[in-house]
Every structure is written in structure tokens, then in C-alpha cells.
Amino acid sequence: MKILESFLLDNNKIFFGFAYSLLSDDLQAQQVVIDAIYVFTLKRQDLIDQLHDDKSSLKQVDVLAQINKFILTQIFSIGQKRIIHLKNAIDSDGSFLAFYEMNMVKRAVIYLKYKTQTAFSEIAEIIDVNEFELMGILSSAQKNLIENLGYDTKHLFV
């Protein structure tokens, strides 16, 4: 259980950062992360068992990567349900307004893409689209964000 615990502690920054990019509220972000991990402990006993049964570190790295993806997926899906109640509270202090003007799917894609090491195929799984759709979401998110920042994108093929 020690490996799992230190893994979850180490990755809190990624989990929290991702949840915050979706919800723009630190208490909500923290709660969503904890809920996501709770769902993980309930639903993925198989991964927890694998982690402890297989002591080869190569296999463990692989299992931890799957755990990571599962938790990010949960954060996204729980966050999506929670955002409905938070709609008006989003970003009251006006920082990162250009970012929060985008919808949640685009925020998730931009965050995972630029702030984490998540592979393209995994981002697709986390937000539950195929890679082709993800490509479209990514380019329109980039375009949106640049426009929200006040740039003219009409000469750019984004």
C-alpha cells in the first residue's frame, strides 16, 4: 500500500492542477480529486491487487500509469457534473479569464496537453473522444484561447 500512497501524494499536484483548471476553485478542486480517488478505490481493486502482486518495477510503473489515467478520467467526469452547479461562480477574481471563457472540454484538453506529460491517446480516453475528434478540439481550443487573449487568428491555420 506504501507505493500507492506515495504515488497518490506525489501526483496530487497534477490531480489538483487538473481539477482546478476545470473548476477554478481550490476547495472544489480538492474535493473532486478526493472523490475521484475514492471511486478508484471502489472500482479498481484489480489495479490495486496487480500493484501488490507484481513486484517487478516495470510492471508497477505500468499499473501506476493506468491508475493515473483512471483518476484523471474520474476527475474530468466528476468535474463535469459539478460544474453545472458552479457555473456562475467560475473565476470570480478574473485571473485566467481567457482560459475560463472556454468550455470545460477545451480547458481539460489544453491543460493536459500543455501542463502534463499525458500522451495524446490518453487525453482522448480521459475526455472520451477518439483521437481524430481530439485533434479538432485541440486546434479549436488553441484558436479560442489565442482569440480570447486578443490576438487576431485569421491568418493562422489553427
Binding site: N12, K115, L156
Partner: protein, 142 residues
């Protein structure tokens, strides 16, 4: 919102934008004329953003790098996009939990895992029991 780029020439709005009464600055504040109105637009530039988004296969990057040597249009677009990428990254919130939150997180995690562990023990025992039964049967078969 009118954002000025660091290191760019002072805001030079192109005439067209003024007509539109659009407060948008021209891309990166540079003064080159509308590229689409010129003959030297290059279709290769369509690939550029995916290139800087680094979904790039190495081969396409190599190809474009060679292409840059003969196409200044793409080269310019590429550097503009690189700057925009920096802008994008700068404008993504990257908030860390504070000390109090990290502590409460650590506590919750360790409680949760303790529960999993106790549950795990109950789950393990019948498995071992079954193993014994199977090995018992397998000895009978011999």
C-alpha cells in the same frame, strides 16, 4: 482585451482591422501585410500548428525544416506560432494546493487506503482457501 506582446514592435493595427472597428491587434503586432492577399501563401503552412502542438511525427518535422530553407512564408508563420504557443502556456492556470490542503489530502488518502487494505485482506483469504481446495483435488487425480 488588447494584449501587447513582449518584444514586439508597438501596436500596429492594420488598416483592415481598423475598418472592422475591431480592437484586436494584428497577430503578434507585426507589420507584414495580409499574407492571404499575397501570391506567396504556402499551403504547407497548414501543417504548422500541429507541428508546434507536437503531435508531430519526427518525419514531418524533418520535412518542414527542409522546407523552411526555401519558404520564408512558412518560416515566419512558424515563429509566430511558436510565440503564440508560449502565450498559450502562460495563460493556463497551474494552481498548487496549499500546505493545509496538502495535509488534509494526505490524511484522507491514508484513511481511504487503510480501508482498502482491510477490505483487501477479506478478499484475499477465500482465494487462498480456494487454492488449497484445488491443490487438494489435483492430488486426488494422481
Amino acid at each position: 482585451m488588447n494584449i501587447e506582446m513582449p518584444g514586439s514592435s508597438p501596436k500596429v493595427a492594420i488598416a483592415k482591422d481598423k475598418e472592422n472597428n475591431n480592437r484586436k491587434t494584428e497577430v503578434l503586432g507585426q507589420t507584414d501585410p495580409d499574407p492571404l492577399s499575397q501570391d506567396r501563401v504556402c499551403l504547407h503552412s497548414r501543417k504548422l500548428f500541429s507541428l508546434i502542438s507536437s503531435n508531430d511525427e519526427v518525419s514531418s518535422f524533418e520535412y518542414m525544416r527542409r522546407h523552411f530553407q526555401e519558404c520564408s512564408f512558412c518560416q515566419n508563420q512558424y515563429y509566430k506560432l511558436l510565440k503564440l504557443k508560449t502565450e498559450i502556456i502562460k495563460n493556463i492556470p497551474d494552481v498548487m494546493p496549499d500546505k493545509t490542503m496538502q495535509d488534509s489530502y494526505a490524511m484522507e488518502i491514508s484513511e481511504m487506503l487503510a480501508k482498502v487494505e482491510s477490505r483487501g485482506h477479506f478478499a484475499k483469504k477465500p482465494e487462498m482457501f480456494l487454492d488449497k481446495i484445488f491443490s487438494f483435488f489435483s492430488t486426488l487425480n494422481h
